[in-house]
Symmetry: C2
Subunit: 392 residues, 2 copies
């Protein structure tokens, strides 16, 4: 880890000045300044880890102002940030984030899972909230630096990883209702373990709506999440773990909690099973794990590996469809899918006072096969189409 | 203003301890601690004031934690706040706010306008985002203290006031997707002048949607605002000032920018005019100025004063209705209404490549009469049903 002293190490030949003083600087990972934590925190025993509660020793920070553009990024000791109370991020919710994981493989290499997809989504989320333009490739370079510096925080055990949370907050001062042209990027990292040990009970809800056409449901925007806390609390009081978000008069199935949702349905032609999820119509988060499940489900190479023929279906489906499939014995599995959970299984969906029960004991064969495959790729036990990206 | 020293002055008999150590403390204004700014900032010439850019000398702060409840509130010098980057307010947008104004009357008394309505809405907004319960009456006491302490910041000139921004942010640490049971209340104050000097050009937009049934559009939630920045920027590029937000396939008219929207329409029975605005169906912010306009419009006493018979109508109306009323010569005025703007007038609405032009030069008689009446009440020139609340 080198010296523990507080040092500044710009890349060779870089002065920290914008190359073109007339235009705002883009985020430039080569200008990174590193200030190491004077003392390192003790690692926490992995069996006591709770999602997003423990943070590593360092964080990445860069700031944007409309004249200078992006500052030289810094890695510095994890710590608080200080902001004016009039800032846009407090007043108007102009914040976006990403969720990613770094894994330590059996070859002792650190891998990220399809980080390019997260970085493109980060760029799109910033654009949706009219935050300053950010170069996701530069953010990825900074993330790679952080996970290498804090690699002792990546648990070696399977199912464990270092969860990475890149965040961009609007920091323009002033209460005027306009886009924030000041911003702060920061990246924090938290060691984490398996998310859902148990099956998930979902409560299907239509009186609250997570996202709508013309809104921000297709972007990873902070303000998408807090409106779900009250319905979630109500669901918990009724004995359910998460909300199954419905949309529209026809009760379309959209997402589960903050995860994409899939069902496995037996086909009438007996040619394997359908893996069904809602289409990306602007109300659905384009999840990296979602895209990966769909890609695997459409891949004959994967079908051979698992001896199940899967048919990926991005299509509108409703609670009536779920109830019908259930009553006909065709509803085989229900899966909640996301970066934190990877693949979790649901065995009960409450709707209009009754429960749709998904048969079987534990996660079914499709969920199990996809989860295993993705975890094998993420943890570096198998190479697959460049999805596992080594952090050198 | 008393001593300028940094002092702490709890109310007599208060120790700052919760009276019941077993239950979290409610926000208690009687426990207020005051730390005065060691030096006061120079006042800014009122003609240079920009909305929400200049802040007074002090702010109110109180914090909530799930065990102790609300801390003893403090008035302290306006300054930055320091938070952990993992806080809910950055990650999940769990922030709410209010907008109010304090006016200095000809009797040299400070008045707030129907502050009870803001405080009830503040309570409801907190509840909607599952933030800790807050007692709006206690917040109001703190606001009264702040405006008295910073009364030199309230411009005396008509149309000017001290804009008050109570804000509650979720401060729970951790990335778990649950309600924030830690929070910070703060109140900041900014001297402000007339908001819209010119008529407003609105661009009617249906491809982006501000709010949806089952969402948070009926609450003053931070995350409602930033999704509007991109459409707003696009509208500005086309020469419009604000968005007229439409909803649904029938293109219902909802709000204008971050303001409620009213139209004045000639009646077929020649019995005065209708003052029409969208109903509170969950997608419309229940504005204090909106409610006041509707109350005035339904009040025979006010009709007598202005010699116009108004019929308040909270009803669904569409762009087709607007176009029809316009073509029939019945669309007399279009008004954007809110705390910051009070009453602004719109003279042009862009829709599907054409402009609906509202006739007349400057604000029409209904907008002018309502604006004058509300300003007279706010600025203490007239007493009306207890709407102007003196801050002793």
């Amino acid at each position: 880890m080198g010296d523990r002293n507080s040092v500044t190490s710009p890349a060779p030949g870089q002065t920290g000045e914008s190359p073109n003083p007339g235009s705002p600087a883009a985020l430039d990972a080569s200008k990174l300044k590193i200030t190491l934590a004077p003392t390192l925190k003790p690692l926490q025993p992995i069996e006591t880890l709770c999602f997003g509660q423990t943070f590593s020793d360092h964080m990445v920070v860069a700031t944007h102002d409309p004249e200078k553009g992006w500052s030289a990024p810094e890695v510095k000791p994890y710590g608080p940030i200080t902001l004016d109370p009039q800032c846009s991020c407090f007043q108007y919710g102009g914040n976006i984030f990403e969720g990613m994981k770094a894994y330590l493989g059996p070859d002792d290499k650190i891998r990220l899972f399809r980080p390019d997809m997260n970085m493109r989504r980060l760029e799109r989320s910033c654009a949706r909230l009219a935050l300053p333009t950010i170069d996701g490739d530069a953010v990825l370079e900074l993330i790679k630096c952080l996970v290498n510096l804090d690699r002792r925080w990546i648990p070696k055990e399977s199912g464990y990883s270092l969860y990475i949370r890149p965040t961009v907050i609007g920091t323009s001062p002033g209460l005027g209702l306009t886009a924030s042209d000041h911003a702060m990027l920061y990246v924090i990292a938290s060691p984490t373990g398996p998310y859902f040990a148990k099956p998930i009970y979902l409560l299907a809800v239509s009186e609250n709506v997570r996202a709508w056409p013309g809104g921000t449901g297709g972007h990873k925007v902070a303000g998408n999440y807090s409106p779900g806390f009250l319905p979630q609390r109500t669901a918990a009081e009724k004995g359910y773990d998460q909300i199954l978000w419905l949309f529209g008069d026809d009760r379309r199935v959209t997402e589960a909690g903050a995860m994409n949702f899939f069902v496995v349905v037996k086909r009438d032609d007996e040619d394997g099973v359908d893996l069904i999820t809602a289409p990306l119509d602007g109300t659905i988060l384009p999840g990296v794990t979602r895209a990966s499940c769909l890609a695997l489900a459409g891949d004959p190479e994967f079908h051979k590996e698992i001896s199940i023929r899967l048919h990926p279906q991005e299509t509108v489906y409703t609670m009536s469809d779920l109830a019908k499939w259930s009553s006909e014995g065709k509803l085989l599995e229900a899966l909640a899918i996301g970066t934190a959970a990877i693949v979790g299984h649901c065995d009960r969906i409450g709707y209009e006072g009754k429960d749709i029960v998904i048969p079987g004991d534990g996660m079914g064969p499709v969920g199990t096969a996809i989860r295993k495959k993705i975890l094998d790729i993420q943890e570096g036990r198998t190479e697959w189409k460049g999805w596992g990206v080594v952090c050198d």
